[in-house]
């Protein structure tokens, strides 16, 4: 058995002529947490729904918790917990009613465990879901996604719309009830600074492609902002991994993925430069809206 809880190779998915996912590959070792990051419409939800076998892929191979989503989606649902983006379902039920309603669908449903989660998340049992706060609804979603003790949890933008306190609480729940239990987690978000503390790996999805994947710390080492003089920009070819170029008077501020090597090259050539580390939000921005072509226009 492989140690990979999730592996995706060359996944492609189009709706009609619109390509939503193109050549997506990723791997998540068992027990690790992957954060899928992207702007709205980048393909995060399509990716997640394809992983769960809710949408058929056009091509590519996938294994999720040992199952092929295309052919074994029933078994997959027993091994995977899923928290959908839209949490407004069954508004008229109470938390307890929801648990009782869902129980027959899952052979491994553990009613005692479900009850423990309600307890730990301090969720009222007899209040209708429509009257719960947004944070409570997410917690309830998490409780029912975990009640059959899945190996893998897939959460679609669980922090969406939560206030900062609820987000932090959610992160804590994720660490406490998913990571510490050894579960593999894939979750999507568009708040990079928020996922840094929690994710082992981040994958940046942009217009259907994964443009970068790696541990947050590696990204911070590799992607840096460098200030250069106009002359350097004019003399040299654009470096590999150039993400963004901005002009400030006589100098240029660029963002490079692979900065340590480029800085080494510039130093060796005797050019002066300034480099600074970036926050993950800035790194994300450079990947998705950076303008590397401005190097040539210099």
């Amino acid at each position: 058995m492989s140690d990979l809880a999730v592996s995706v190779r060359n996944l492609r998915k189009a709706f009609g002529s619109q390509v939503v996912l193109e050549d997506v590959s990723l791997e998540v070792p068992g027990g690790q947490t992957l954060a899928l990051l992207g702007r709205n419409g980048a393909g995060k939800t399509t990716m997640i729904r394809t992983l769960l076998g809710l949408l058929p892929a056009d091509s590519g191979t996938m294994r999720v918790a040992g199952c092929d989503p295309a052919t074994e989606s029933l078994e997959l649902r027993r091994r995977v917990g899923y928290l959908a983006e839209d949490q407004s379902m069954y508004d008229w039920m109470t938390a307890l009613e929801l648990c009782r309603f869902l129980e027959p669908f899952y052979p491994q449903w553990d009613a005692k465990l479900a009850d423990q989660y309600l307890e730990r998340f301090e969720l009222p049992r007899h209040v209708r879901i429509e009257r719960l706060s947004k944070g409570q609804v997410v917690k309830l979603g998490l409780a029912v996604a975990l009640a059959h003790a899945p190996q893998v949890a897939i959460l679609d933008d669980p922090a969406l719309g939560l206030d900062p306190v609820a987000r932090k609480e959610f992160n804590r729940d994720l660490v406490e009830h998913l990571q510490a239990e050894g579960r593999t987690v894939i979750y999507s978000s568009h708040l990079l600074d928020e996922v840094e503390a929690v994710a082992d790996t981040v994958a940046i999805l942009d217009r259907g492609r994964i443009v970068r994947q790696g541990p947050p710390e590696t990204l911070r080492e590799e992607v840096q902002r460098i200030v250069l003089s106009k002359d350097v920009v004019r003399q040299r070819p654009a470096p590999q991994g150039l993400l963004d170029v901005r002009k400030h008077g006589e100098s240029y501020e660029i963002v490079v993925d692979g900065a340590p090597r480029f800085i080494g090259e510039l130093n060796a050539a005797g050019h002066s430069l300034q480099s600074t580390g970036m926050t993950l939000d800035d790194i994300f921005e450079a990947f998705v809206i950076g303008r590397p072509q401005a190097w040539r226009e210099a």
Partner: protein
């Protein structure tokens, strides 16, 4: 044990935590024999990835600051073992100060060659004074 994390900072979270624990061990805020929270407890307390906390503990243990006693817990080491870590901290600090100094030099308009010349002469002076 008090650790404060600044999210969205340009300093990686793992380094923020490691530095705070290190300086608490060195300054004596944490004393020899103190038991640290388990990896899991600290991860939960800070809402930080369990593997990240584990790597931080391993690193501090390798520096001789703390000791991971299998099946028992994590303890702060006696001072004598901290020399390596102290050196490590001072080197880190020196690196930051050096970078800041160079940055200042660049802003003051020194060219790379001028800075290199200065470094060479400063090195020569330092070597001479060591003899």
């Amino acid at each position: 044990m008090f650790v404060h994390i600044e999210r969205g900072s340009s300093v990686p979270i793992s380094r923020q935590i490691a530095e705070q624990l290190r300086s608490q061990c060195l300054s004596g805020t944490l004393i020899a024999g103190d038991k640290l929270p388990s990896v899991r407890e600290l991860a939960q307390q800070l809402a930080v990835n369990v593997n990240t906390v584990f790597r931080i503990y391993e690193r501090l243990a390798a520096e001789g600051l703390i000791e991971l006693r299998h099946g028992d817990g994590t303890y702060v080491c006696p001072k004598s073992l901290k020399v390596d870590a102290q050196l490590e901290t001072q080197r880190d600090k020196f690196g930051l100060e050096f970078d800041a100094l160079i940055q200042q030099g660049v802003m003051l308009g020194f060219t790379a060659n001028e800075l290199r010349t200065r470094l060479t002469s400063a090195l020569a002076t330092a070597r001479n004074s060591q003899k």
